[in-house]
Amino acid sequence: MATLNINGRDVTVDVPTDMPILWVLRDVVGLTGTKFGCGMALCGACTVQLDGQPIRSCVTPVAAAAGKKITTIEAIGETPAGKKVQQAWLDLEVVQCGYCQSGQIMSASALLAKNAHPSDADIDGAMSGNICRCGTYPRIRAAIKQAAKGA
């Protein structure tokens, strides 16, 4: 048994302690906005925030979340940075297939929460772990800058 704080709610789950957070969210709790892409922290599709830090939930065991707050795409819009990022994503028509975008938004929101005016290099640093096969990178970069403007 483990008690996790997910999106401000305590949830008790009966899972092994080494089970990655990704599968707890998707297969046990039923929050499917967080996506499976690679299982090796290579693509970023599974990015969630742990106490505001972006983490790859496909390789992070539930044990690592003890006493910490997990935020997922379903609730990131309730944070100031997340709200701005989502709005910028909508304003600039970023999405294509959309599958990677939960992870992109989680990484971008974490970046803006700690760095209100990221440079291109900051954006590269924060976003290079998130692959988009549709190639929406130019719009992601522009949307992060737009969200920063609204800061």
């Binding site: 690679c38 028509e93 970023v94 692959i131 096969r133």
Partner: protein, 720 residues
């Protein structure tokens, strides 16, 4: 989007209203982007065709026959209908179409397919006609109600107004009456100058749910009592299971069942983590079969041998042999492009519930009716007993034109009590793809004394995907996809010959990859054209331009791209610009200028891409731009690093660490320039990919003097 079961009453009403069409499915969000079950909607009062339903409450539902995999069809298709139906995009809700070739076939392919950049081209007229038909009937119903001339009535935003009196009736109020009117055979379509929606950068209708995690992909399906399975198929095509340790896998908590089908093993569990651990614990031993020793070199050897023989002539013009013999200078080259994985971000997955008397399938497919047919074949059930629920696709790129994972999931589902979701790991996905084939091309050209080309010979060697996929399209030994673009060479050259040598290498499954035939052929053609320009010591843009006097649209995009890119302006050392031109079956003309930097260590950095596009009538300029941006980036991944190789019959790549794809820090600026045009719409989802490899290769040549005749670039520029 929430899945639901239509009640028997709803079902009958829907069936009747749709004139026999089976309209199951589920809504794709609603106006506010909140997913709501379609079951809450009243039965539609008016459904003049398979694409439009209007309820008495005024609710307008548009049925999406072409699937959404990022390319914007769930915005462009509604725009086509809404333009003529006279409703706002904010007034419609979308629904995934069920499988039905009779109602939803793509006119180019004859079945329900989304591929080949054909959605707008194929449905530009049919969907406008569907909208116009419904609007004509609603206006007629209003005119009848008021006993006035239809010509005195106008429709706008779902309301019909009798202009002289100002009386109005909403579509909802008119729906039942309109449904009783005969469906007109002929309706007038708007003059393009009267378009108010087509041609505007309307906002994507799928975006709200894609930024808040609510969009439902196949992998997100959750059903009561559902188990989750992951699989291992033979790592060598044609191999079989030789042994496994079932007890060890069953000992993992959460593992419920092992399904061994001989060529594939599934571990069925409570969740993916248990399934993955169970699969590892099985320690499967494989009997590799006849392909166990195959390597990439064997494949290339086979292609090279096949390339020595002439092929089926796909295009001939002038006298090629004489023209080559009489040329002042001859140039030959062999070009090669590798096997490629699609590597969609959403790994292959399919949920099935197989019962005695029926089968339900939940997945994301580019070819729904094939998914349905395979489930029927496997189960032995009649087609109508197989229900397929489509979803948003987490990337397609041609991979989801196949249905191998559906077949596999149904076979597994037959052995499992209740619903089961089969999810491939990334490794399973990358190593059990249907890959872009390896192609091997022989080029030859003759130049006259001034350096102008007088002969062009292109021999393409590779498999005939269409012979398997769409047999009617494979005629006289010719695969029209394999030779696409090559047969449409736009340059004015007196003697042209294009041949196709069919050579199958059945060690890997192969299929279409974003950009299909042109992705391979344009790389070869435009690289070779650059070689000719270099041999003639001519500027690559000027050399091409001089051969395009008869094709003004091609020349116009070339001029536009060159101008916008600042062609000819000096660049720092180590930088280079390359140009490429594209025309193919898609009907779109593109020119691209790439600017790259090659480091001393041989690493390529793409700084800037400028692309000029004439794709005829544009439905949504912002989506066209986005497709070029994305297509270019997809093309860069493939050109610089994309390569699937074989060793001992096994694919050597397994995940994104050894199948490298473009990332944010490597993505260039992409500038897209659209040429205004009233020509018929051309395809746009793929050409950005197809044109990028040659533009990069030519830029690399400009920067380094090294001509790359084989992709990917990878370490070919590395100093020894």
């Amino acid at each position: 989007m929430t899945t639901h079961t239509v009640s028997r009453r709803d079902f009958v009403v829907v069936l009747t209203a749709a004139g026999g069409g089976l309209l199951l499915g589920c809504r794709v969000g609603d106006r506010s982007g909140t997913a709501t079950a379609a079951a809450a909607a009243p039965p539609p009062a008016f459904a003049p065709n398979a694409f439009i339903r209007i309820g008495t409450d005024g609710r307008v539902t548009l049925v999406m026959n072409q699937v959404e995999m990022g390319q914007g069809t769930y915005t462009s298709m509604p725009m086509l209908i809404a333009e003529e139906l006279e409703v706002g995009l904010d007034q419609v809700q979308l629904e995934h179409a069920p499988p039905d070739d009779k109602l939803y076939a793509n006119p180019f392919f004859g079945d329900q397919e989304t591929g080949g950049s054909s959605s707008v081209r194929g449905f530009y007229e049919p969907l406008r006609r569907a909208g116009a038909t419904a609007r004509t009937m609603l206006v007629a119903a209003a005119a009848q109600t008021w006993d006035v001339d239809v010509a005195s009535c106008r429709a706008k935003r779902g309301v019909v107004t009798h202009t002289p009196s100002g009386r109005t009736l909403s579509y909802g109020a008119l729906a039942e009456k309109a449904a009783k009117l005969p469906v007109p055979d002929k309706v007038a379509l708007k003059d393009p100058k009267d378009f108010t929606l087509i041609g505007t950068p309307a906002k994507r209708l799928d975006k709200a749910e894609k930024v808040n995690g609510k969009a439902q992909y196949g992998i997100d399906v959750r059903l009561p009592g559902m188990k989750i399975a992951t699989v291992a198929a033979s790592p060598v095509l044609g191999g079989k299971v030789a042994g496994l340790d079932e007890a060890k896998a069953m000992a993992i908590p959460g593992v419920r069942q092992i399904v061994n089908l001989g060529d594939v093993v599934a571990v069925v569990a409570d969740h993916m983590w248990a399934a993955k651990q169970g699969l590892a614990a099985l320690a499967i031993r494989w009997d590799d079969g006849p392909n166990g020793n195959v390597s990439t070199a064997d494949v290339v050897q086979g292609l090279d041998a096949a390339s020595q023989q002439p092929g089926v002539v796909a295009r001939t013009q002038g006298h090629i042999a004489e023209a080559v013999a009489g040329a002042a200078r001859k140039i030959d080259a062999v070009y090669q492009v590798p096997f490629l994985a699609h590597a969609t971000m959403e790994p292959m997955n399919c949920t099935v519930h197989v019962r005695q008397d029926g089968c339900e399938v939940w997945t994301g497919s580019q070819t729904l009716s094939r998914a349905q047919a395979t489930a029927a074949r496997v189960t032995g059930l009649p087609l109508e007993k197989v229900v397929v629920h489509n979803h948003f696709l987490g990337g397609g790129f041609g991979r989801r034109l196949e249905f191998d994972w559906v077949t596999q999931a149904v076979r597994i589902g037959q052995k499992v009590e209740g619903p089961v979701k089969v999810v491939w790991t990334r490794e399973e996905d990358m190593q059990h793809e249907f890959y872009r084939p390896y192609y091997y091309d022989r080029m030859a050209a003759g130049l006259d004394a001034s350096g102008k080309p007088v002969a062009w010979s292109h021999r393409i060697v590779g498999p005939a995907i269409l012979a398997r996929y769409l047999p009617p399209a494979f005629k006289n030994g010719l695969d029209s996809d394999a030779v696409d673009a090559a047969v449409f060479l736009t340059y004015d050259i007196p003697a042209i010959q294009v041949e196709f040598v069919r050579h199958e290498e059945p060690v890997l499954n192969t299929t279409f990859w974003r950009g299909v035939g042109p992705t391979h052929n344009i790389f070869v053609m435009e690289s070779f054209m650059d070689e000719l320009a270099a041999a003639a010591k001519a500027d690559p843009v000027e050399y091409r331009r001089a051969l395009l006097s008869k094709v003004p649209r091609a020349r116009a995009v070339l001029d536009l791209a060159a101008k916008a890119a600042g062609w000819g302006r000096p660049l720092p050392a180590g930088h280079g610009r390359g140009v490429a031109l594209l025309y193919s079956w898609w009907g779109s003309y593109l020119a691209e200028v790439a600017e790259v930097e090659v480091s001393k260590a041989g690493e390529v950095r793409v700084h800037r891409i400028v692309c000029a596009v004439d794709c005829g009538t544009v439905i949504n300029p912002d989506i066209v731009t986005a497709q070029i941006e994305g297509g270019v980036n997809f093309g860069i991944s493939g050109a610089l690093w994309g390569e699937v190789t074989l060793k001992n019959g096994r694919v050597e790549q397994s995940n994104f660490h050894n199948y490298r794809v473009l990332r944010m820090n490597e993505a260039p600026t992409v500038e897209v320039h659209l040429v205004p045009s009233l020509e018929a719409p051309g395809g746009i989802g793929e050409p950005g990919t197809s044109i990028t490899a040659p533009a990069l290769a030519n830029a690399i040549f400009a920067a380094t003097g090294k001509r790359l005749r084989r992709l990917p670039v990878k370490d070919q520029l590395r100093s020894a």
